[in-house]
Subunit: 188 residues, 2 copies
Amino acid sequence: MSLPHALLGVLSARPMNGYELTKFFDASTGYVWSAPQSQIYPTLRRMADDGWIAGTRQSRATALRSTVYSITEAGQAELLEWAGHYHPPGPARDAFFLQALYLDMVPTRRAREVLRRFIQHHERAIAEWESQRDALVARETPLLVERLRARPPRQHARIARLKASVFQGEIDRSEALIAWARAQLDLL
Amino acid sequence: MSLPHALLGVLSARPMNGYELTKFFDASTGYVWSAPQSQIYPTLRRMADDGWIAGTRQSRATALRSTVYSITEAGQAELLEWAGHYHPPGPARDAFFLQALYLDMVPTRRAREVLRRFIQHHERAIAEWESQRDALVARETPLLVERLRARPPRQHARIARLKASVFQGEIDRSEALIAWARAQLDLL
């Protein structure tokens, strides 16, 4: 149930057509909850069926831009209900840690290669998250610019800081994993 | 494709019946990749069809204990192939960080409650992982005891340390998330 809420979150900034929505999504929320375009359109249709968003057809527009979606009162209530309550995570399922349980069985050079590629993956992720964090602090991401238009100026700094800090959380987690993988390399 | 490899990993210790397998699984690998019993039996049947494990029926045994499964040469090769190569993770999808992007929209007391319960969840997880880590270092977990019987004594310390360290990785990650959530509470 996370993609509908991710899309509600984007649409809570302002009404937009499907083309804009996927653009904004890919450049913001998508870094935390990624989804292919093939999932976004069917999800929007279900959300409209559920009354969380309303689509208005624009005449004389290309197919992708023909419908402007806006969040309804019910959608706004759903977004706040979801964001305001804790949802316990599913059972622990970490594919990499599972694999790591068996690194003692493979040749050391293979185990080292697996850990090195794990470190590289997280280093690349950190670089992406850092640029997203910095753009949010500077209030330069396209979605945040749109969103702040509708919020009182005295709240702007807090909103930007809280959102940027989510990316800091992703960074902190990846840094902890890199430090662990380096210690694991030493153990091998 | 992780559950079959998790089960291969357990069966690589020694042949065992379904009852033992689920017991060992729940007390070891299951902490990293949890799976309900309802998933384990169909997966075992598919693994037997694929030739990764072989089941031998024991006469005069109760239903649950009637088949003893052992890993085949093909299964052992698959386990080592999987463990020895890096598998890139799927796209970033973190339900909690997604929710955290919208904590600025809800009343502060609700946002604080969400973060406090997130911290509690990770504190409980850390306690479980710590006891698993310590039992592995002490070479006291039932599966490790079985596994070490078939491995040369000079390798025992390294095997125990490497497996214990996986739980340290889970702990390190959860500690990073708790520290982040506390900073987020201050930001609110």
